[in-house]
Symmetry: C2
Subunit: 318 residues, 2 copies
């Protein structure tokens, strides 16, 4: 039986944009919005809401900034019951650049932060909530956080006007035990305040989908996924697997299968994501994928074993 | 902490051979044997032990038949503490073609069968055991078996001279609940007789590794995996992920990373395995991958949605 509280959030364009500096064709952005709307996805995240003044002009595509006129152009004429979300990073956006919700088609602002930045995240959450948006917080790289720090942060977040706080396995390092532990920890602190637990997994160990559904089993109700698993490095939980698993009849698989065939299989020939050994190595060692991405771009380690040994730091190649 | 009872079995050449009619170069077979030996893998399965008289001459490579002289040539001069296994299929081998263990370098005969053929499997197990081999049974496609039939079969198997009986998710259709249920069911019947539970997973839903370690959590001790996940259709649990997960210091990851880089990344350009949408569709519907393989070979359905709808059999495309 399905849980009606479950919300699926597609972040194809947002997480996928980390591969290509957010330089997707408008046509693809619209196609993703259309397919996810037809599939019954609850939220569609079209990118980051960064302030242009903090970035070199022309380096990034429009989905890094999600200015209001751009978002309206992307959704224009497409029938949809889905809500729109945007991710906001601490220090990369000025609240004054975010319009009031009444002037925006965006519904949800998702604040991304590390445990150490929860105070800054709370300030940004309050600014967004004051403007009228729904808000969530994604606590990144939680596989490296110390539990007392995390608990203290969650207790502060529990007092905020939030829809959900996400467990984010940025390094693709966690197994079901860790997912169960963290989902229970978040739930115990947040649910009594009416805040849901979310889950955002990476696929370095081919556990993106598995860990997402393990979080569901423990009560996570906000679920991130991307079409064909697109996303930085090893990518994310594939939306098509998640929709097939969830039993809610409001979700339709056909539009996602169609867009994979038409757009994402060709796109995978142009840009790289999914299970790859360099990113598997950073995953098993619970490390940032930086060194894996460097290796794949031709910098850094030249051989898999060299990367593995250098990250183990056991001196054998020193 | 690690469980010393755990045995890892590499079936790279055997399951991978289902993609290419077992036509691997001798050089690759030897390289796999060498890498798995250096990695500390407990058993290495170099193919099937089929009788040549049942097959058209020349159609299949030598790893389908594993005649004694061939196996000895493959391992000649390579240092190894690993045992050798061969898979035997009901009706495709005559016991008289299998030499006595005292005349063979093979240690373990793995009998593969469906639930309906357990009686035949038991006869073959006894013949192999009488010749002096270790034996296991792999009950295939158990995601479609009825529990009373399975229980009856397991009770019969519990009386046989077996090392292990495997839960085999041939269709890549199961989730952790089903893996937990079946591992517990097998364990309850087999462990009291000193027989271990094994696990062999396919990756149609990107759950091959996840389900393998879920079975480990419930007490499975014989674990199948393949290098870089090679295997029919969606492939198998990747050996590199499994070895990294297991904490037993006897396992070494380096030789597997080396052979992936040198052999399996180039090989993946020549033959196809891994997460692919047609096989994901058969997986989510708990069906044989036949129709997915037909589609990928250019026969059968031409579009993902057409395959999905035809297997759902809901008449929309009828």
């Amino acid at each position: 039986m399905y849980r009606p509280e479950i919300k699926v959030l597609d972040c194809t364009i947002r997480d996928g944009g980390l591969i290509n500096d957010h330089l997707f064709d408008d046509r693809l952005v619209r196609a993703v919005y259309q397919a996810c709307s037809a599939a019954g996805v609850d939220y569609i995240e079209l990118g980051y809401r960064a302030s242009k003044k903090y970035f070199t002009a022309g380096k990034f595509g429009e989905t890094k900034f999600l200015e209001e006129a751009f978002v309206r152009r992307m959704i224009d004429g497409i029938e949809s019951k889905s809500k729109l979300s945007a991710m906001v990073d601490i220090g990369r956006v000025d609240a004054e650049d975010i319009p009031l919700k009444k002037d925006s088609v965006v519904d949800l602002m998702r604040v991304a932060c590390y445990v150490k930045d929860i105070d800054k995240a709370i300030a940004l959450v309050k600014q967004c909530a004051d403007k009228g948006y729904e808000t969530t917080v994604n606590i990144m790289a939680v596989s490296t956080a110390l539990v007392p720090d995390l608990e203290e942060g969650l207790k502060q977040l529990a007092e905020c006007p939030l829809k959900a706080v996400y467990v984010v396995d940025s390094f693709g390092a966690m197994f079901s035990e860790q997912i169960h532990f963290l989902t229970n920890l978040y739930k115990g602190i947040l649910n009594p305040k009416g805040i849901e637990v979310g889950i955002h997994c990476h696929n370095n160990q081919q556990l993106g989908f598995a860990n997402t559904i393990e979080a569901v089993r423990k009560g996570a109700n906000y679920l991130d996924a991307t079409i064909y698993g697109i996303g930085r490095a090893a990518g994310n939980c594939p939306l098509e697997l998640l929709l097939a698993f969830l039993k809610n009849p409001k979700f339709k698989l056909d539009p996602i299968l169609e867009i994979i065939e038409k757009e994402f299989i060709p796109l995978r020939q142009q840009i790289e994501w999914g299970y790859m050994i360099p990113d598997m190595i950073t995953g098993i060692l619970n490390q940032h994928p930086r060194s894996a991405m460097e290796m794949r771009s031709g910098k850094g380690s030249k051989r898999f074993v060299e990367l593995y040994r250098s990250l183990l730091n056991d001196g054998e190649l020193a």
